[in-house]
Amino acid sequence: MKKVIIIGYGPAGVTAAIYLKRTGIDPLVIGKDLGALDGYSDLVENFYGFSEPIEGYKLIQNGVDQAKNLGIEVITDSVISLKQDETGFIVKTQKKSYHSETVLLATGKTRQTLNIPGFSKYRGKGISMCATCDGYFYRRKKLAIVGCGPYMLHELEYLNRISSDITVFTHGNKLSTEIENPIVSDQILSFRGDEKISHIVTEKGEYPVDGVFIALGVPSSVDFASQLGVVVEKNNISVDENYQTNIEGLFAAGDIIGGKLQIAKSVYDGMQAADSIYLYLKNKSKKA
């Protein structure tokens, strides 16, 4: 059991890790990429302490290296789900599962919005982003799931229990593993229906559906946080003055909580969140 898992190794995540390490807590940092500045070769000129401008991705990579050099455990993997049990949080990645007392979400904002006509219209009217929340409404119905990777497989495993008629739409992508469900690999052109969704339209034809579950790419932290019941408003995770969400032990910092999308602000968030997590763990161990 870890004390803290930090999801995201950008400025907020790494800063939190550094400050936690100084209090004697060994955090585990899980990141999937360099975030908003991944591949960002433009120069960052407005961050303190750099006499020469630095490429965005390099600055972030330096942060990851800095954490590693300080002896912080940093791994590269994608988180596909976040759940809770009596003792803490279960963070499931593509490769493994981890257990911790607290979690800091510092994933930044690279939310993929699905740019398919009809998506917004039928969201909640046949299109769902959460199999475990909405699956029940679609028992024994004709379903589709959109996705191609481990996240899709994770959601499909659940859906296969409630319906035997589920088609996988890869939306032009290649499937990462073999599955038994029927597969449609065409690009999706639109979602069609009346009050509720009735068809998926692709280049090659129209497919009748009662429900569509979206599980494309890897979930954003907004996706897995909302599956847990975190308050999310305007695509930002809501936190209190201690950077804690409405779920005890679950914290968030950086771009994901909104405000200025700047490195300086994320660094500040990371430091403050580390303080709060430290105090939270201290109080918790006192009570125990």
């Binding site: 809770q84 969201r123 909640g124 009217k125 046949g126 769902s128 959460c130 475990t132 929340c133 909405d134 029940y136 409404f137 009050e195 509720k196 429900g211 909302s226 599956q227 847990l228 019941g229 975190v230 308050v231 999310v232 408003e233 809501s238 409405n246 779920i247």
Partner: protein, 103 residues
């Protein structure tokens, strides 16, 4: 007290209510829905005399859930004068819910 809404009392408590009513459509198996409960309880205390707050289990009272086309939970619907005034999907803060009620 957050109202426990059923098929029997929905007409009287919600549709015939003089006050606006916020209804949380939820179910016991929906983990994010469980997070809405403490938020509703706090909101309820805040809006005494101005609005009513209730929750409806979509499993037990599926007729009502069907009638309003609920296909995703939590869905929170504000009723005014017996009609759907506005609705939101997902867990929301108390402040946002209060804004929905407009009281």
């Amino acid at each position: 007290m957050v109202l426990h809404l059923t098929t029997e009392n929905f007409e009287k408590e919600v549709l015939q209510s003089d006050l606006p009513v916020l209804v949380d459509f939820w179910a016991t198996w929906c983990s994010p829905c469980l997070r809405v409960v403490p938020i509703l309880e706090e909101l309820d205390k805040e809006v005494i005399g101005l609005a009513k707050v209730g929750k409806l289990d979509v499993d037990a009272e599926y007729e009502i859930a069907d009638q309003f086309g609920i296909m995703s939970i939590p869905t929170i619907v504000v009723f005014k004068n017996g009609k759907v005034h506005q609705s939101v999907l997902g867990v929301q803060s108390k402040a946002t819910l209060r804004k929905l009620l407009e009281v």
